[in-house]
Subunit: 410 residues, 4 copies
């Protein structure tokens, strides 16, 4: 098969987007990791808690080095590849995919905000010390305050919903600088004196994302760990970070949608029985005309989301490589491409996660299958920012060419 | 306010359908019961298990006597009233509403299948001994076999997904009679020697419906407990039972949709904050134009479902009172009216249960709110029979006037 | 058949809502009129223009007297009956249904705004002289100015989109009173000196609604034809007129949806062939599982719209009879009930008008069938006011109990 | 702007897909042609009839030579380019785009069915004599019979819905060979003795597609004009023709959707006024939150359809170049890619063509704007084969990997 568009076996679709030769290893590693995680995904989803053992599997996969440039000892993979990896893992376990994706988001932050020395040091360390990064960056939350002192700052306050903070080695943080009346962005070892991470995340989905609350009690932040001081104006390049974040989420939703579809397909083949009113010509559930029709419709939710997510991934790579030369317009175009993909992936994950049961039927709701986790995980994760405002932004752009105002969400 | 269509406070809508004066007490009792159940609904939904204490509340409410004709000591309430009661309770707790609704379904069965003597005895006993009925009737499952003996039958085999069986006093059962090559329908004390109920229900929703598996090991079934022998042909009257069942489900979905909407409304008023990109003119979440629009759209899913469910309830009452004179055509019309209402209620419960989060946002996914239970309960319960075949039946009727073939689902 | 919910033949559904005995003649007359209009509806839709001959049929049907109270010589029919009549005629010809409906809207205006003497005179005249009323009332358009003079006003200016103005006998008008800085409402013979009606309506649907432009050149308006002077504050009663208008539109959309469904059903039975890929078990187009499913779905758009429209009609009758005692809250409840029905009917008419072709297929687009007129007529007529703001109003009410601000549209 | 994904002005999106340098002239020529056709598109849509003058414009554009390989004197453009051209013209005039697209479909047929000599002769002639091709190929219609004679066949019978037949120079035909019990495929000058073309096409959309009926009365068909004799089994290569046809339609729907969106955008900027209930912060129609939201939603119907159509176009080019080596599996993958794009484009064209009015409002229904033509043209053209069976095929493939059975529609 050489047309390279659709493999004849549907599962093969998942790997159908052409990737550079070098990327195949990453996808293979992600596929292997996904298979390991899948063994216990249903059970861990039910129990929640900190996935210490699974974080070790992620580490062992080598995928923490993926986005680190080769000059610092990493794999130098493109964002397109990193996002494929996130999607692949999310098919099996969207919580661990989130941890992996957000690790790379922190690395993106170092590259977008940090100076050359910081990049060299932090990214080299990431490889050498096998650092797993967590996120405590949320510039809109001003509860964490950075008071300037000699040689840096003292941090006091708290950050909630800090994804990947529980069990992390280092954190990216934002903190409010009252003098500058703006937020600085910095990095910090999670073990720094005065830092406490509480494992208090308690949503009904994405349960193992280690999204704890981080308390800071007179924490010393040395100046050389500040990636972006509060007084420095955001640039098109630096605000690209939110697009990395949004695209990681997009691929996570996509992985959930694909995972749900794959689960439904397996169940329909292996377990489901035709409905009694379907008539004698329907010998198996997969022969039911309504099952086929709905499955085709579901496929048409995933397929375009995947196409646009891949396109947006390529656009992100181009924009990322542009570096400081990136213009506001180019940045805005990436934001539009990402928003398009994100809305489609959001809808695919929610609609399939809820709708698959119309095909698989009553028995498929048994807890042992854990099929509700697709909807629960998608539902919790798709609420990061309201889809209606994404649609508004897309509408404004389509009406006027207006680009979205850069923000942590746009 | 005398137009009696819409009370000015939306919550009042829930009771807006005019009911006979005598029914008000039942609605009041149901409202009181719902308030009691609501206290612990989130926690019990999480833990699952047998709701012994809540069954006691149901008993104490007096609502078990609701559908029993006055001549046998009951309240003689119409089905319209019973269904309103189910809906009211389901707003707070759809599992307990299911137990209550299916109790009355068993009583309907006694009235539809049983002879005068059986009705008198069983319904009188229901009142006098405060019997809580459970369901083990599923004529399509032939694993329970009734072997004729002197004076009755011996039962061997099993029934699964027996709603309300755990903790029940009496059960309605169906059992395969190999001689007649058809199923008989009977009643039995749950404590009859040889009957074992296993509490093995483990779906991700409707967790406290006590839908266990009932094993029968040489159980004696005396002849006078057989409501319908296997050789007796079903009549329009007797096949009305599936419409009672379908309409109980319909009202249960409706209660879930209404409960979800009420929960979203409360949260939007009390907890939600306007989205940052909404602009300064949106002072509160409820002022957001997209929140208002989506809420209006949700209302337009519940409102027509309620109108058609009420209409179907009245049709059921008329048909029920017709007794043996009920024609196949009249029975078919009830089935169509019920199917219409059921599809709308199904969609309302699923769409609102999943979609409400687009309005309430990320923080509303905290486990403490338990807002995912609306979707989970609706999702599990709406799979009783496939909605696509209901739509097919409605389409056939609208195209040809063809009435659905009576079945346990149509 | 006595359940009176669903007649077994689907066409009978159209008349399934119970109506008072006296109303049967009106429905019969409307059915007869619809059959007459249907003969030429496709052709007249194509050609557009003034339907002089068809207006004569409407007159001959006696239906112009329908809403006039018996004390003035009319039939004293309820609004529920008038609206059923509009719906019945709209199934065959939504333009003529509009003329008939808006005639009764003008009569409603006389009863809501006029004093006892005006009502007596104008309604008696309507019967005795067989007056066909047209509409030139649009308080938001200030281009028509009323200058006070001795004994009344002089009118100068213009009114556009005046439904039913071409070929009318009398008109209801609104005119801006610069002194009062508000609009007065009055009636006027169309033949009054200085009044010119231009037949310039040129939309792609509802082509024979005679919605011309009316020019006023020094037209004398005597005081006793002023129903509501500009200085008089609107009351809950007087603002009920917009609800009469909205509900006429609702029933018109409903008639269009029902007409489209009936046309599709006939075509599917008489002309359509099964699709070649449907397989041998599909012997006729109506046996196709997707045709049945879509038809069921369409039915579920019409059915609830009909239920809510009927309910809103009954609410309007109650409110209308309340007279000056009608409270703002009661008026608001009617507005909510009407808005609910209108949104559902709007969607039904558009969705079925466009979607029916997915069932009937390519050959059904031949101009001779004229099946596109359902969409075109619905599309033009449903734009009177934006559906998104109706949904917003419904959402606000469902969230807060807030009632819509009375306006010509709410 | 170098990211080459989204131009900042939305109209620029239409040309945003990267095309080979050589293709730019074709797109420029198509854009120029579209602008010429747009001048009179509304008027010609209303009047229907044969577009003789506009066919001359198409000829003058040079675009008839587009797909002819360079070795025969043509431009040797890829199918990707041809399809972009069809889409570009369809934005302004979907009927003329159909004529142009189906001209190239006939040329595809010559290349897929014809031997080397036939290809050389017919394609060279196409360039040298500036031939405009029409379609009379429909293998499922057996009314045209080919009786073998010395040196060829005699044709008798009729072909209806022959797109582009009126005014064509040459036709592709299929004819039933009773001996072989299969259809042959051939070409013929439209002026051949015994051929009569009747201009009897009378649908409510796509009115100027010259889709007449062709009568054959003892028409001589010499053997060397037979591209594929009836006894020759279809190959993966030869059955690729239906995919060319389906993808031309897809791009035509896409052009309609894009044209409708562009028309709505212009109207919203230039003509529309904000709704009175929108409040003072909405200064212009394009500022309305619901207008923006709906426009964003419409954009999200067009954008993925475009992405998948472009992908399918590239797949078609690859498959086409494969020639006789094309495998059934590869052919099937193209069919799936085309079906995906076609369903999305179908929905985009219908939904936007009908829904745009919710944004533009009542005044936009004036006949002078001709905005209803988007829906009418899309509605007529999207019925070529039922979308439900496309979804079924997509579902089967997604469930099983099953490829669609090659047919004129799949």
């Amino acid at each position: 098969m050489t047309l390279a568009l659709h493999a004849s076996h549907p599962d093969a679709n998942f790997a159908a987007v052409p990737v550079a030769a070098a990327a195949y290893d990453a996808i293979a590693a992600a596929t292997e990791l996904a298979m390991q995680l899948e063994q216990t995904a249903v059970e861990r989803d039910r129990n929640g808690g900190h996935p210490a053992r699974e974080r070790a599997l992620v580490r062992a996969s080598g995928l923490l080095a993926l986005s680190v440039p080769a000059e610092f000892g990493g794999d130098g993979a493109s964002w397109a590849t990193v996002l494929q990896v996130v999607r692949t893992v999310a098919r099996a376990d969207s919580a661990l995919a989130h941890l992996l994706g957000f690790h790379h988001l922190q690395l993106a932050g170092i590259r977008l905000y940090g100076d050359a020395r910081q990049q060299r040091r932090l990214l080299t360390d990431t490889i050498e010390r096998d650092i797993f990064w967590g996120n405590a960056l949320n510039p809109l939350d001003r509860r964490l305050v950075a008071t300037p002192t000699a040689g840096g700052y003292v941090l006091n306050g708290t950050k909630s919903f800090a994804s990947g903070s529980v069990g992390s080695d280092w954190l990216t943080i934002s903190a409010w600088d009252p003098l500058a009346q703006a937020a600085l962005i910095a990095v910090l070892p999670t073990g720094q004196a005065g830092v406490t991470v509480r494992a208090d995340w308690d949503a009904f989905g994405q349960r193992q994302t280690d999204s704890g609350t981080v308390d800071f009690d007179n924490v010393v932040l040395p100046e050389d760990l500040v990636l972006q001081p509060a007084h420095r104006a955001p640039t098109p390049q630096s605000t690209l970070r939110s697009q990395v974040a949004q695209l990681i989420m997009t691929n996570l939703y996509l992985g959930l949608a694909e995972g749900a579809l794959a689960a439904a397909r397996r169940y329909l083949h292996d377990e489901a029985r035709p409905w009694l009113a379907a008539g004698p010509e329907v010998a198996a559930a997969v022969d039911d005309p309504y099952v086929q029709h709905r499955f085709g419709d579901f496929h048409l939710k995933v397929r375009p989301a995947r196409a646009l997510a891949d396109e947006a991934g390529r656009a992100l790579d181009i924009a990322f490589r542009r570096g400081p030369a990136l213009s506001a317009e180019e940045r805005g175009e990436v934001a539009i491409a990402v928003a398009e993909a994100k809305v489609l992936a959001h809808r695919a994950a929610i609609d399939i996660g809820s709708g698959l049961f119309e095909l698989t039927g009553a028995r498929s709701t048994a807890a042992k299958y854990g099929f509700d986790r697709f909807w629960r995980n998608a539902r919790v994760h798709t609420l990061h920012d309201p889809v209606d405002y994404k649609l508004r932004n897309l509408g404004r752009h389509a009406l006027d060419g207006r680009l979205p105002e850069p923000s942590p969400y746009a």
